[in-house]
Amino acid sequence: MDLATVFAQYQNLLDADQDLREEIRLIVRELDTTGREVSLILQQIHQEDGLNQIGELCTRAKLTLSKANEQFSKLASKIPPNQYFRFNDHWRYVMQRYSFLCALIFFLESEKLALHSDVGKLLEVSIKEEDGFHLDVEDYLSGLLQLASELSRLAVNSVTAGNYDLPIRISRFVSELNGGFRLLNLKNDSLRKRFDALKYDVKKIEEVVYDLSIRGLRSRSLTITK
């Protein structure tokens, strides 16, 4: 076989790869847009009366999220079996963002930590690598770290809105999260960098709690000293 024929075959392989990547990119762009919509709804918790509307906001966010569910299943159908990691660079960032949004919804509704499986359920995406398209544990963890910094913001804003109890609960939640992350052996990668920023979120929340405590605004500490 001469070189030109062989290389024409390689070209076909390269083209097939490019075409598929192009399709993936389009769906990921849709997912990105939907993610922004969900994010926009959830950002309202930081507003003056946002905390009183949590129920309604979460319902709306989940309604929009159902659009993402379809887009995710469309994306999953494009990925040939056993090739998730060939293409996952295209959606890794978006996936982390969704993971964060789901964990935020979960926290707002229950004030509990969304486990890997909880986020998977909300996204309607498998959490098992064997299933092909899945929510990878690294992306899930990355989402949790985004949650911590969002909650540190919420702690500040909830004080402004006159809610002095939520920061205390956030503080407990985030320190528990921090304790969990300290069980992980992280490599020197992006997850590690994100984790290194977690201590600043913890610190910020501690400062809020400190401010509340020292001024006697912390309801629980008041009952203790009584």
């Binding site: 070189l3 030109a4 060939r86 320190s175 992980l184 500490s221």
Partner: protein, 263 residues
């Protein structure tokens, strides 16, 4: 009898962060599970990186060995030795690497073994070029790294092409060494092969593959050096002794950076 200051002290003294023992054990064990998952992946990844490094080192040695070919008789001996060395790599490091990939999505580890794979393709293609005078194709490389239906190291086309792009650099060295030995025919033949491979590589539409585009530029420079060398051999071959010709060919005005880029 409490006064104001102790009260503040008391409230400050209440722990801001709950002690770790009070954490939800479910969450702790969940994180332990996550930790195990991450560790399994990271450990395997590191093992693959190590194997890849061993493969790179051994492949580089084979390439150096092949450059020692002086004439037809030493060629046979050296090619056999190189083949033996590569077979050892295939049977040891590559085999272990293939076993690491069983049941895994190999793309997850491609970045770990890509350097070794490229160097290996460079070595094996160089060997085949010297021995048989043709370019090894993707299928042949893949068959060397296939042990059975389930046990193999997948060779993506893109990695293959990167390895071949590296081969052009070796052909350039081969050609220049041939000039030094005065093997004019080998110089012209190698130049022709190099041109063919470069043309085949440049004919590909690469889309967003940046690394290969970069290597193609290097390959183009190699080709130009070789073409200039051929020109010098042709024009001045009859004028000066062969020993001086090599120096002339590679240090001509068109190739001022030759020495820097030799390695």
């Amino acid at each position: 009898m409490e006064t104001a200051p102790p009260k503040i002290l008391a409230s400050v003294a209440t722990p801001l962060i709950e002690p770790e023992e009070s954490f939800d054990p479910d969450i702790q064990s969940f994180f332990s599970d996550c930790s195990k998952k991450l560790d399994t992946h990271h450990d395997r990844y590191e093992r693959v990186v190590k194997l890849s490094r061993d493969i790179t080192i051994e492949s580089k040695r084979v390439i150096f060995l092949l450059h020692r070919v002086q004439d037809e008789t030493s060629k046979m001996k050296i090619c056999n030795e190189a083949e033996g060395k590569l077979q050892v790599v295939i049977n040891s490091s590559w085999n272990r690497l293939a076993k690491e990939l069983v049941g895994q999505d190999h793309h997850h580890y491609l970045r770990a073994y890509s350097p070794g794979l490229q160097e290996f393709i460079e070595a094996i293609s160089f060997l085949q070029f010297l021995r048989d005078g043709n370019l090894i194709n993707l299928e042949e490389v893949q068959s060397r790294l296939t042990y059975s239906e389930e046990l193999k190291v997948p060779v993506p086309v893109y990695e293959y092409l990167l390895g071949i792009a590296d081969l052009t650099g070796e052909l350039m060295r081969l050609c220049i060494n041939a000039v030094g030995r005065g093997e004019t025919q080998l110089v012209f033949n190698t130049c022709m092969s190099l041109r063919k491979i470069h043309e085949a590589l440049s004919s590909l539409n690469l889309g967003f593959q940046r690394e290969l585009k970069r290597k193609l530029q290097v390959s183009r420079q190699s080709l130009q050096k070789v073409e200039t060398a051929c020109y010098t051999v042709q024009v001045r071959g009859s004028e000066i002794p062969k020993e001086l010709l090599a120096a002339k060919a590679v240090l001509s005005d068109d190739n001022p950076t030759w020495n820097e880029e030799y390695d």
